[in-house]
Symmetry: C2
Subunit: 145 residues, 2 copies
DNA sequence: GCTTGACCTAGAGTTAACTCTAACTTTTAC
DNA sequence: GTAAAAGTTAGAGTTAACTCTAGGTCAAGC
């Protein structure tokens, strides 16, 4: 089974990504892109990296490595390892900020109950630092801010 | 204790955020911003929203609501609830993509061991769909892509 | 054969979030 | 009092990731 570009374009911003060189291996008939089942694992992988906030240029690097074949296996493995760390950091970061949000949630619940923010104005924040070193790092091992 | 802008600027891109109207309540002496301990909970909150990928304009809306006082308590509470959902979705999404990354990790480990990708080329992907409906939604309740 | 519609491209335009520059003021150190 | 350091601003420039436009090709249906 094959897929037309309009079908695929609903799922990803295909033309743009193709322009950026992200799928050099997709078949063409008379210049028209024809996606096949075999392309899907690749599309899924690109979609994954994109949603992990990897910049297009970095994804392109990965594509170029993949094109070079077996000699770049270790480099690609390295990139995957970085993404694994990246995911862990992002989850950690989200959980960190969840504390702040949960605090504010309770804060507003109490304030709404009382009809005024006055009663909660001096509730202590969950953590008293803004020091960058104590904030989780942004999940940015090579990925965008 | 107070803090100079250069001290604060290391932590956040203060001048830019101020320009965007994100801290209208910070004190000034002869036009120079003077941050005080009382400002920190606010700065932390802005930092939190920023790191949850809320666009500056949306953060500004929150700031403007806060300035209006008690009449906007419910609206602000609503915004916080959205962020709570947003965090849950983002964590879910990250865990989803982690499966893909873990698959690739094992894939490359095997390929490196064998010296060639050939041996793993036909390993089945963890999930066989690219259907947008089956992918977790991007964590974007009002937040940027 | 001709219109319609789905596809193609190059390139211009848009948007968000910075980032830098230049010219000015205020504070600090001697 | 004066020079340097650190603060200020408006506004121009940058970058990434789209998004749109204009003009063109090609196959299908009438």
């Amino acid at each position: 089974m094959s897929y037309s570009i309009s079908e695929i374009a609903k799922m990803l911003k295909i033309r743009y990504y193709d322009k950026e060189g992200l799928f050099p291996l997709v078949k063409r008939i008379n210049g028209i892109r024809v996606f096949e089942d075999k392309d899907f694992p690749w599309l899924r992988m690109l979609n994954c990296l994109k949603n992990l906030n990897m910049p297009i240029k970095k994804i392109k690097e990965y594509v170029d490595l993949a094109l070079k074949g077996d000699e770049t296996l270790k480099a690609r493995y390295q990139l995957i390892l970085e993404q694994e760390e990246n995911i862990q950091k992002q989850i950690k970061e989200l959980k960190y900020y969840k504390k702040q949000i949960d605090f504010k949630k309770a804060y507003y619940e109490k304030a709404i109950e009382a009809g005024t923010e006055e009663v909660v104005k001096d509730w202590p924040n969950p953590e008293a630092t803004l020091d960058v070193d104590e904030l989780p790092n942004k999940g940015n091992i090579g990925n965008r801010r």
